[in-house]
């Protein structure tokens, strides 16, 4: 992996434009899906023909967006001659692609259509931030990153994040639905009951947790190779551990009377907040060995 490669800045510029095109499509999808939600909230019956149509359009747009997004990710990788996740911009763009893709596939597997506007909104936010704050030109890999563990460790971390994100959206709805002040809001009646939300959230969380455990182990194996110890409480290691521990607490909570439901949902949100914190604040402001933001 350490041979000199020819970077292609023109292709990288094209990749950026394609990603921005995907962003535009996602934004439209977000508006359409949110509109559909508000119609459902207003309707007496939960399925009005207009909202069904809008949902279809929204999902079609998300698919168009995800395909464009994939081309953007692919061209970025070709431009850099390596996996497109070596700095914050690339991690955000690739990560948000995986989130969307996993979600769109998960729709066939579980009934999670109702969080489409959350997912599209989240992805719009991530790409927007990446494009304005994190953008960097294509660069070749620094020696520390030239290893196949970059492919394994980071891609699994991205996958884990995608599952945790979907679980967090579900947990957020559960909390709103069970909060006295919001309970009566019409829009919340559109969503499934608490039991279903809780179960779905759990199913996405356990997959996320398995993947996160793998990320942690793979990271330790790589750290042993690159940093001469498998664990050294580097800031990023600390936060990976914190996140793992929060989700471990969550798993215990789901089988403990008095802790399931709302409290467990809060733990899901805290866990996901820690993931976002780890990716943004820790990357940018904390001193450590994972200095790969490229900024």
């Amino acid at each position: 992996m350490n041979s000199l490669v020819t970077l292609n800045p023109e292709l990288a510029a094209l990749s950026r434009i394609i990603v921005l095109a995907a962003l535009t499509v996602y934004s439209v999808a977000f508006i359409v899906l949110t509109w559909s939600l508000t119609i459902k909230a207003g309707a007496k019956k939960q399925t009005s023909p207009l909202s069904t149509k809008l949902d279809k359009i929204g999902f079609a747009l998300m698919w168009v967006g995800v395909i464009a997004h994939f081309i953007g990710v692919l061209t970025r990788g070709i431009a850099a001659q390596r996996v497109p996740w070596a700095n914050m911009y690339e991690f955000s763009v690739t990560g948000s692609f995986v989130v969307t893709f996993i979600y769109l596939v998960a729709v066939f597997w579980k009934d999670v259509k109702f969080i489409a506007s959350f997912v599209s909104g989240f992805v719009v936010l991530i790409i927007g931030t990446a494009n304005t704050l994190y953008y960097v030109q294509v660069e070749s890999l620094m020696p520390a990153l030239q290893d196949y563990w970059l492919v394994i460790h980071v891609s699994v971390a991205i996958l884990a994040t995608a599952f945790f994100m979907i679980a967090a959206a579900l947990a957020g709805i559960l909390i709103l639905k069970t909060t006295k002040r919001f309970k009566k809001m019409n829009i919340l009646k559109v969503f499934p009951n608490e039991e279903k939300l809780e179960r779905l959230s759990y199913q996405f969380n356990i997959i996320g947790f398995i993947l996160w455990s793998f990320t942690l182990i793979a990271g330790a194996i790589w750290a042993d190779k690159a940093w001469h110890r498998f664990w050294g409480w580097d800031t990023k290691e600390v936060w990976t551990f914190i996140i793992w521990t929060i989700y471990a607490a969550y798993l215990h909570a789901t089988t403990t009377r008095g802790w399931e439901g709302r409290k467990a949902a809060w733990l899901t949100l805290i866990g996901f907040a820690a993931i976002l914190f780890n990716f943004t604040i820790v990357n940018l402001y904390f001193k450590g060995l994972h200095v790969y933001s490229g900024l």
């Binding site: 970077l7 607490a249 215990h252 008095g258 450590g288």
Partner: protein, 516 residues
């Protein structure tokens, strides 16, 4: 709160028995305490506490990961630093409070898991439990009008790998024992990880050595620049081998305009030799340590070592050899200290090495490129006692000029000495001459050994396998009962299990098919 009454799944109850008020005897009081310690609620709270307690270690510099950061913190915050230090905030992960949380967590874990091993072992060999009197009360229940035999249900459940005990009138079936097996493997392996980490670190060592091209390192205590053995490691146990740095070299990107001059590969070519064995040539790179018996050699840094020759006025050599300079920026402007205690009059020099010299707008020199295209060495000279005998100035990279007088460079009135490779210049104040012979590269090596590593990995993999086993296996119990006119089916799951309803439906379908 989601209302439990409407909930269709059953929550594991073992840990959730209501806390009973303790009676007054000592024994039951102890038992009550133990129950609290091993309760699931405590586990949750300890896990969250552990997560919270880990946070300060990412905010404050830690002695283990960033000792220079701690020194700097003390310098910048002289009033608050000692207070934080008292609270062990610079050693969070070995602090008494962090340790007590995780030790308590592991005690709770052991207390919770060990008894379950016996219970599970018995459950594996036992028959599925008797049906509850009232199948209707189970989370899943179906009543079919049928009078045929229930053999078809037995067959069906066996084909689905249930453990089945059947009579003519009723069936009890259970499957998914792997769930508890996985759960136990997960938790026990976590204990394995903790023990391997602890023992491993006690039996480990790690040391640093800076090696200049052409020099040889011998693996014994005296050859290390710094060595930190674990509590149980004897430095006499170091496996003897030698390591000669043949060459060090950096590959730069000279191809991509946006990336120009960025290092993309560091290679230390070494010749290693065991006490009994042939010399062997190998490359050490970042991400590619050299594996020696009971030691791994890592490349952690590099820089330049200018070679100097200093002579007294009478021509006798007072100093000769390479001096390791520390890189200060990405273009490798490097700072080094030369101490000449053997000169007629003691003196020292603070020197800068610029691999490719350039000028800042202020007139100060800087390096503009990390590769030596136009190397220049500049030296400020200080005359006076180096204080080496008193232990002052014992740090090789620091020149304490407190008791010294600057005679070249800075405000001394004499210009700093500036040399290109091969040049010789006279030192001021009749100290003799200095020759910049040339320069070599050096490699910073980390040599480590940790016998616990492989065990940590092994247990970590078991943790992951146990986790997967436990999270994807549902544990289910199914009972079938035949009455004169009907067949009843009841089912119970140990975890949230949305398939349970479907399974009961399918079983009912199978029975109905036969009844026709």
């Amino acid at each position: 709160m989601p209302t439990r009454q409407t909930s269709k799944y059953v929550v594991v109850k073992e840990y959730n028995e209501p806390i009973q008020a303790p009676d007054l005897s000592f024994k039951s009081w102890l038992r009550w305490i133990w129950k609290q310690v091993t309760s699931m609620k405590l586990a949750i709270i300890l896990l969250l506490l552990l997560a919270a307690a880990a946070i300060p270690g990412s905010i404050f510099p830690q002695r283990s990961a960033d000792p220079n950061g701690v020194t700097l913190y003390f310098r910048n915050n002289p009033t608050s630093a000692p207070v934080l230090d008292k609270l062990q905030l610079f050693d969070v992960y070995s602090s008494s409070w962090f340790s007590s949380i995780y030790l308590l967590l592991f005690i709770s874990l052991i207390g919770c898991v060990l008894p379950r091993v016996g219970v599970h072992y018995k459950a594996l060999r036992a028959e599925p439990p008797l049906a509850p009197t009232n199948l209707e009360r189970l989370p899943e229940y179906k009543k079919i009008e049928a009078t045929n035999s229930i053999d078809v249900a037995v067959e069906y459940l066996r084909s689905k790998r249930y453990k089945v005990i059947a009579t003519k009138k009723d069936i009890r079936a259970e499957k998914g024992y792997l769930r508890e097996t996985g759960n136990l493997i997960f938790h026990i392996s976590l204990i394995g990880v903790l023990i391997s980490v602890g023992l491993g670190s006690a039996l480990s060592f790690s040391g640093q050595r800076v090696l200049v091209e052409g020099d040889t390192f011998v693996n014994n205590e005296a050859s290390y620049d710094s060595l930190s053995p674990g509590l149980l490691y004897k430095t006499s146990d170091l496996t003897p081998f030698s390591l000669h740095l043949d060459s060090f070299w950096t590959k730069y990107d000279l191809l991509n305009p946006t990336n120009y001059g960025i290092p993309i590969d560091f290679t230390a070519t070494v010749t290693s030799k065991l006490a009994t064995g042939k010399a062997q040539k190998s490359d050490i790179k970042v991400n590619q340590p050299l594996i020696m018996p009971n030691a791994k050699v890592y490349l952690t840094g590099n820089g330049f070592a200018p070679v100097l020759e200093i002579k007294d006025p009478d021509g006798s050599i007072s100093f000769s050899g390479p001096v390791v300079f520390l890189p200060q920026d990405k273009n490798l402007t490097s700072l080094g200290v030369i101490k000449v205690p053997d000169a007629k009059k003691q003196f020292g020099m603070a020197a800068f090495f610029y691999p490719t010299v350039g000028k800042l707008s202020t007139g100060a020199l800087t390096s503009v490129y990390p590769f030596p295209v136009d190397p220049v060495l500049t030296m400020n000279v200080f005359e006076g006692s180096l204080g080496l005998e008193s232990g002052l100035n014992s740090n090789a990279f620091e020149l304490n000029t407190h008791a010294m007088k600057q005679i070249a460079g800075g405000k001394s009135g004499t210009k700093a000495i500036m040399l290109a490779p091969g040049m010789t210049k006279a030192l001021p104040d009749n100290l003799g001459t200095v020759k910049f012979v040339g320069f070599k590269r050096y490699a910073s090596l980390d040599i480590t050994y940790n016998p616990g590593e492989i065990w940590v990995l092994l247990f970590a993999i078991l943790v992951l396998l146990g986790l997967i086993m436990m999270l994807i296996t549902p544990r289910r119990r199914i009972w079938v009962r035949k009455t004169a006119t009907h067949i009843e089916i009841g089912a119970l799951a140990k975890s949230r299990d949305e398939m349970l309803g479907k399974i009961v439906k399918e079983l009912a379908k199978q029975i109905k098919k036969k009844s026709k």
